[in-house]
Structures are given as C-alpha cells and as structure tokens.
C-alpha cells in the first residue's frame, strides 16, 4: 500500500514538473512571438540559458529552476562594417592562423583522386584539389578550416583522409570541406573572415577592440556557419555509401 502511494506521488510529481516545464516553454515562446511581431527581430526559445552571444529577453523558470529563455539575436542589427573591430579582428585572426601554421607538423597533404572523384558531384563549384591538410599542435582537438588550409590536431585523421589506398570519407572531413566551400562562396578569405567576425558575440568584439587575447575556441563560435557546415556534411554523408557517420 505504501509502495502504491509512493509510486502515485512520484507520478504526480513528474506530471507537475512536466506541466511546469511546458508552461515555461509556452511562456518563453509567447514572449518571443510578441517580440518578433512588435520588434521584427529574431528570437528563439532556449532550454536553460541563451547560448553565448545572444541576449536574454525573458527567462521563465520552472519548478526545477532551469526553465526556458526567450533569446534575442541582434547580430544582424550591426552595421555592415565595423572598421576598428574588423581590422582588429582580422589581425587577431591572422595571428591565430600564423600560430596554426608555425605549429604545423609535416608537409601539407591533398585529397587523393579517388576521394576528389567521389566528392566532386557534391561540391561541384569548389576545386577540391586546392585543399591542403596539415597537422597543427596549436589545436587541442578537432580541426580548423582557414579556407583551403585545414589544420587538424590529430595526424591520424589527416592520414586517413589523404592516403591513396582506401582513403576514408567521414562526416568530419565533409564538415571541414563545407567550411572551405563557404569561404569561397562568400568571396574569399578576407570577406569570409570579416563576415564571420560580424556575427561573433559582443564580448569578443570588445576584447578584440581592446587588444586582449581571445580564446580560439570562442572565435570558432558562429552558430549559423557551424550549423550550415554540420547540415551540409551530414546530408552529403547520407548520400555517400562509403561515408563514415561517426567521429572520423
């Protein structure tokens, strides 16, 4: 009998929590919708806090204290050019790129013909032959695309992608190529980088303008470009019978 009551109480508590969570989500959505209609600005609902770079419009707590936030995205309201920041940003980017280069290990490698042939159909407007892969100890993990120059922390990834015998095509490789392709589509390195910087969080802009060193991990953050590369790589991977969906 006690067990029954305990289960019932637990069930009721879960129900209450779910109701509250749904209520705070609903409230955040309504706040966002109102903001969109009245201010004609982008707004989205985030579980918990807003991601870095987005402003909190309203927070609706639920019984667990986490809740949902209506997040405002005001990056598009910035001017097309921010001369001071853009120059500082470009300098900072070049500095970062230089570090990647100087901490590079071994010679730069290209994609094998077999891979180029398979991928050409999917990256029709991009010369895959121009891609160069280099290992760099400046990166803690993963890879970083500086347009056609792709730096990776792990030499194994590069070896797998660039070997002529049974080269690997993975979602990670496609992700890096998608960034390189974006760079070309956006009009080359300079334009791509300045565009990329325009959408960085305000705090990083301030850091750059004041000459403070910036954490590369934070520089790497630009939600839409990352998502774009993610979607593009995953969708191409699905259409390739030989693509590895996992980490490599």
């Amino acid at each position: 009998m006690h067990l029954f009551h305990l289960c019932l109480s637990l069930l009721l508590l879960t129900q209450m929590h779910m109701t509250h969570a749904a209520d705070s989500r609903q409230a955040a959505a309504e706040a966002c919708l109102k903001h969109r209609i009245q201010q004609h600005e982008s707004c989205f609902v985030s579980h918990g806090k807003c991601p870095k770079g987005f402003e909190t419009l309203a927070f609706f707590s639920d019984s667990t204290g986490t809740g949902f936030t209506a997040c405002r995205d005001r990056r598009h309201t910035r001017g097309q050019t921010q001369p001071v920041t853009a120059t500082a940003a470009m300098k900072s980017y070049n500095r970062f790129s230089e570090i990647l280069k100087t901490k590079g290990m071994g010679e730069a490698k290209s994609l094998p013909n077999e891979t180029i042939k398979l991928l050409r159909r999917h990256f029709s407007g991009f010369p895959l032959e121009t891609l160069r892969f280099t290992q760099s100890t400046a990166l803690g993990e993963g890879c970083f695309s500086d347009c056609e120059q792709i730096y990776c922390a792990d030499a194994t990834d590069i070896e797998q992608w660039t070997r002529t015998q049974n080269p690997v095509i993975s979602v990670q490789l496609l992700h890096q190529i998608a960034h390189a392709e974006s760079c070309r589509l956006h009009g080359g390195r300079e334009r791509f980088v300045s565009r990329w910087f325009r959408y960085l969080p305000d705090e990083i802009h301030q850091q750059l303008a004041s000459g403070e060193p910036v954490d590369p991990e934070k520089i790497h953050f630009t939600m839409f470009m990352e998502n774009q590369a993610k979607h593009r790589s995953e969708s191409i991977c699905l259409r390739l019978s030989t693509c590895l969906q996992g980490a490599h």
């Binding site: 749904a22 989205f44 609902v45 774009q228 969708s235």
Partner: protein, 355 residues
C-alpha cells in the same frame, strides 16, 4: 466549359486572331481549369501524434483544415512537415495527407495563403513564418512540401535571400515540390507578350490581372520570379523535385468515361532551369495527374504516398497496422469526397525515372 476547350473551339472556327488571343489570355492560369477545393473543417485525429507541449499562432501556419481555429499544437523539437497548397486550394486540401502523416506519428501542418497574391510576397511571408516556427519550437527538422504553385512558393522561401542569422538556417530543411511549373506556365505566355499587349490595345494586362491577381506576371516564363529564382540556401539539405507526367490522366470519370482531364502542366513546364540544377536537387518523374498526385475526388494519392515512404519522408505502417492504414486511406480519400468506390491500394507506383 474549361478554358482549354474554348481555345480549341476558337482555333477550329474562323474567329479572328484577336478573339483567339483574348481567349488565349484566359488560359493564363492553371488555376482557371481547376475546381475550387471543397471546404474541409474536420479536425485531425491526433491520437498517434506526440503530446504537444506548445501552442502557437503564427501567420499563415495552422492545422491542415479549413476550420477557424489556426492554433498550432506541436511537440517542440520533433520534425514538422509543412504542406503548401497550390492555387484554388486551401489548408483543408491537405487534411487527408496530414492525417496520413499523423497516423505515422508525424507532425504535419499547412501554410494557408491568398492564392492570388504575389508569389514573391507570399514566399517572403512563408519564410518569416518558418523562421518563427523554427525559433519557437526548438529548431526542429522542417520538411516543406509544396504542390503546384505551392512548390514555387516553397522553393522561393528557401532561397539564399534568407538572412544568415535566421532561425530557419539553424534548422535542417528539406524541400519537396510536386508538379511545380518551374519554367513558367505556358498558358500564361500571352501575359508577358509585348505583341499581345499591342494587338489587344493593352487589354491583356487587366485581363491577366483580373484572372490571376497580383501574381499575373510572376507565373510567366518572362518574369524574374521564374528566370532568376535564386539559389537554394546551403542549409537546405535537399530538393526532391517530383515532376508529374500528366498526359492521359483523368480527374473526373463517369461510367468509365473521362469527364475532365487532369493534364495541367507539361514536363517541360515543370523543368528546373539548367542553371539551378545542383547536387542538392534530385528529380523524380511520376506518372500521375496534376491533382491526382495529391489526391482529390476519387483518387487516393497512392503514387505520392509510396514515393514519400520510399524516400523516408513518410513512415511506413507496421504490418500489424496495415489493415487500419488501408481503411484510413479509403475513409479519408473516398468517403471524404463522397465517393464509395474502392481502389486497389497495392499497385506499384509508376515512377518513370529518377536522377
């Protein structure tokens, strides 16, 4: 009498060229040869859908019925299929297809718009609504399915004009167009013809506007909307272009005699300009009539349903639910439209080819 038949009569009689021209202008819209869809206010049976955790009212978007309540009840984060109707139709036109999605536990909603408005304006509004939907419901996967003119609008809504920072771009998107006239509507060529304007003493334009509304020029091959439609935004995963070979199809039949054909657009009209073909676009050609493809009258859209299932867009029913599924299709498409005939649901879809 359909306008197509009027034109045939005009060409067979000794009427003057001007009359033929004016009649020709009446052919400017495929909508003209279509019947207005019946109003369908029946609610969607939601028992197989995930429990909604959010209620929203977003311009244009709503349940696939013609009922007054346009509140969306969705489970956030779950994929959403959005159906965009063609001309002379409404959200209720896709009520049955939305119910088929719901039977598989998949959320499907409809975009309702004024089918006489400018296509570019409607596409812009759709884009804004999709952006709101994406931002407010946890950036779910979005599959946009547009039929006929709805296909043109759906594609335009996903082109590169979308702001880079929009919520829609954070969302995985897929586009499916059905029988959409990407090369312009041939019957509307007169509207864009300078010669026709001169010969008709300028009458062509008001006639075109009166018949088609603000989109009168956009549906012609000469418009920017058709000639420079813009590239799909890179965040669109794929454009599945389903063209229909409508030759010999029949919309309504009486005693085994075809009373009205279902041929609206040729394959040439549905062809995407070569400059827009890319690996993102995959084309499939199906043998089906223009309205038959989405199911109307006595037609169960078997070909479309099978294709969507093969493409992984619509779930396949488990064997244990097959009988219930067959009954659902019969109820939805045959009873709803007041038909009693049954059809064999097991024939293989007539896929002609795919690229």
């Amino acid at each position: 009498m359909p306008f197509r038949s009027l034109a045939v009569i005009a060409s067979k009689t000794r009427m003057g060229g001007n009359i033929h021209l004016l009649l020709g202008t009446l052919l400017l819209s495929a909508c003209m040869s279509m019947q207005k869809s019946p109003i369908n206010t029946q609610a969607i049976d939601t028992r197989y859908l995930p429990s909604p955790d959010i209620q929203l009212v977003i311009d244009g978007l709503g349940p696939c019925t013609d009922a007054g309540d346009r509140t969306l009840r969705l489970k956030s984060g779950e994929p959403v299929n959005i159906l965009v109707h063609g001309c002379y139709a409404s959200a209720g036109r896709f009520r049955a297809l939305a119910q088929v999605f719901a039977f598989q536990g998949q959320q499907a909603i409809c975009y309702n718009y004024d089918d006489r408005a400018s296509l570019a304006v409607v596409a812009r509004d759709l884009r804004q609504s999709l952006d709101s939907l994406a931002g407010l419901t946890g950036h779910p996967e979005i599959t946009l399915i547009g039929h006929s003119q709805g296909g043109l609008i759906a594609r335009h809504a996903l082109t590169t004009g979308i702001a880079e920072t929009s919520d829609l771009n954070q969302t995985r998107q897929q586009l499916i167009t059905l029988s959409a006239p990407f090369s312009g509507i041939r019957a509307a060529d007169h509207c864009a013809s300078h010669t026709a304007r001169i010969i008709s003493l300028g009458l062509v334009i008001p006639i075109c506007m009166a018949i088609s509304g603000d989109k009168w020029l956009e549906i012609t091959h000469a418009s920017d909307f058709i000639r420079r439609p813009g590239r799909l935004h890179p965040s669109v995963e794929e454009h599945l272009l389903i063209a229909t070979d409508e030759a010999g199809s029949c919309r309504t039949r009486t005693d085994d005699q075809c009373r009205e054909d279902d041929y609206v657009f040729s394959l040439a009209e549905q062809k995407l300009p070569p400059t827009l073909t890319s690996p993102l676009v995959r084309q499939i050609t199906l043998k089906a009539g223009h309205t038959e493809i989405v199911g109307i009258g006595e037609h169960i859209p078997e070909v479309l349903i099978r294709t969507l299932q093969e493409e992984g867009i619509l779930g396949k029913p488990e064997p244990a639910r097959m009988s219930a599924y067959d009954n659902l299709l019969k109820t939805l498409y045959l009873s709803e439209w007041g038909r009693t005939a049954t059809r064999n649901l097991n024939h293989v879809p007539a896929r002609i080819h795919s690229d």
